[in-house]
């Protein structure tokens, strides 16, 4: 846990939250947009960290649940359901429901086979999003997704269509997800998960149903990814099959590793690095993928524990 002991970590987190919440006050409009996208991606990356970092399950198909959540939210919002909570919930439920059968099948294997199986299932859902045109409109995607109205905001003559309030919404959801995943990681459930990661045979011998623990972790991660998908659908105003493509899962893993896994703060920082590289860099440099890929190779070679590892060592 960074940095160092608990109180200093709490201070660091509060400062981080304050710094983030001040962004709408001073940042240019475009950078507020990038920070919003980064927060949404951070929620996705944190859910992936529960799998990769804490449970030791390297998934390369996590974007599937992100995309499923986005499509569920989009369909409901286009179907004239107006309300923040229903739209977030439907993404969460859809993500979790998709994760249940995929997890149940993939978790029959482990290690590299698990990685390839999640990749294949993810691409299968991507193919479904492309081909099931009556529901998803294929590659055109679902467009014109309205953002929900919040009665409280109306009183101040504001709406979620403005960048500031929408950014704050994403920040609040990100904080809620962080607190939830953090307490899950500190709970007996989280500790058991780490035990299974370190030595699954011993944990099985101790009587823990390791398949069930892993499956619960997989479904929880899928649920949280679904929430981030909901936010992405609201933020973009459209949902396309690109959301489910395997490179999104890969970028999620980059965020986790560049930031540092098993920390939740790491993926959050990593998501900002990735999104700033992707959106920020691409406005100045054409070759952002090249830079991101090279950065990533350097991180894997020289900083395998990520940014967080840098702080921890110091």
């Amino acid at each position: 846990m960074i940095p160092g002991r608990f109180p200093s970590r709490l201070v660091f987190l509060v400062c981080l939250a304050l710094a983030l919440s001040s962004i709408p006050l001073w940042a240019p409009r475009f950078w507020i947009y990038i920070a919003t996208q980064a927060l949404i991606f951070a929620i996705f990356a944190m859910s992936l960290d529960l799998l990769v970092g804490y449970a030791g399950l390297p998934s390369l198909g996590h974007a599937a649940f992100y995309g499923v959540g986005a499509y569920a939210c989009a369909l409901l919002a286009i179907g004239h359901v107006d309300g923040l909570l229903p739209l977030l919930l439907v993404g969460a439920v859809a993500g979790g429901l998709a994760a249940l059968p995929i997890g149940a099948l993939s978790l029959r294997t482990s290690g590299i086979y698990f990685l390839m199986l999640t990749l294949a299932f993810g691409q299968m859902l991507w193919g479904l999003a492309v081909n099931w045109t009556s529901l998803t409109r294929g590659t055109d995607g679902l467009i014109g997704i309205p953002r929900p109205t919040l009665p409280g905001l109306d009183a101040f003559n504001m709406s979620l269509y403005e960048r500031g309030p929408f950014f704050v919404l994403c920040l609040l959801v990100a904080i809620a997800v962080f607190v939830f995943l953090e307490s899950l990681a500190r709970s007996p459930f989280g500790k058991t998960l780490e035990g299974i990661r370190e030595n699954d045979r011993r944990m099985r011998a101790l009587g823990f149903p390791i398949f069930r623990y892993r499956l619960v972790a997989f479904v929880v991660a899928g649920t949280v990814a679904g929430i981030s998908g909901s936010l992405a659908a609201m933020s973009n105003g459209f949902a396309t099959p690109d959301l489910l493509y395997w490179t999104v899962s890969g970028l999620g893993l980059i965020a986790v590793v560049v930031g540092g896994s098993r920390s939740l703060v790491g993926p959050l920082l990593g998501a900002f690095v990735v999104l700033f590289a992707q959106l920020g860099l691409s406005t100045y440099v054409d070759r952002w993928e090249l830079v991101l890929g090279a950065l990533f190779i350097v991180f894997v070679l020289f900083l395998p524990r990520g940014l967080v590892g840098l702080v921890r060592r110091a």
């Binding site: 390297p58 199986l117 294949a120 294929g138 893993l253 090249l290 190779i297």
Partner: protein, 322 residues
Amino acid sequence: MISRGWRTRHVGGAKTLVTAGINPAFTVTLGKVHVVIGNTLQLIVNGLAFGGLVFLLAAGLSIIFGLMDVLNLAHGSFYMIGAYTAYTVVMATHNFWLALLAAPVVLALIGALLELVFFRRLYRHGHLTQVLMTFGFTLVFVDLIRSRFGPTTRSIPPPPGLDGAVNFLGATFSSYSLFVLGMAIVIGALLVAGWRVSRLGMVLRAGVADKEMAGLLGIDLPRVFTLTFAFGAALAGLAGVIAAPEFAIYPGMDANVLILALVVVVIGGLGSIEGALLGAAVIGLGYVVGSTIFPQFAIGLIFAVMAAVLVVRPSGLLGRRS
């Protein structure tokens, strides 16, 4: 991104869909195409030819994993670079056969260099680290290709003599599809024979079976690793050249074929050439069956087959039990 894998070509006066190059993931427009029953044989040939291409990729992927324990996501990039090498050579010299020779050489050099400089440092790390670094390379390669050739789709014509059509058993085949199938069979047979009979094949099989023991018996493993990686890259490059006249050449063509190669390897079992051959046949035929019965969900059938295989045999049809 969708449907770039499609090309239609006029064969014998009728607009015939050349399916060999189709990436099953991109079959959106298939519903609009009339798949005539008489074309079934044609579809089987094209499906198997496509399976053969994927086999060339899957074989390298599988050996590299079996021997070095590295899952190389950049393997699809080698295929893409092979296709672009073919494009460059054909544009410069108008000679496809020269490209067929040049691309494997170029890719062998790239593969050897990558192994010596980067992958060598990673063998002691876990799978996840390796997978992530190779993912980084896929980003770098696709962007390098895009910066050199632009985002537009390119194509090269089939070599003279193979650009026509052949009538056979009442069906019309494009001669290039038959050439692809023939190449796949010859190279596949050579690979399996080499794997079983040759000295290098024996060394590789020994390395896959027990790395430490092979090293103790005097096999220079680091050299074997470099050679294997170069050879696998060359095979992927060869697949890229063979695919180039049939498929669209574009940045991003690597990902689609990589996923299929992974599926083939998973079905067949990691580290087994025969498994890759079997898996490629299953994928090729699965695609044919899928695309004729329910065109929109052919890709789903392929993944369903893979899921079924893994549920019954988690380490693949011919894989070692772990």
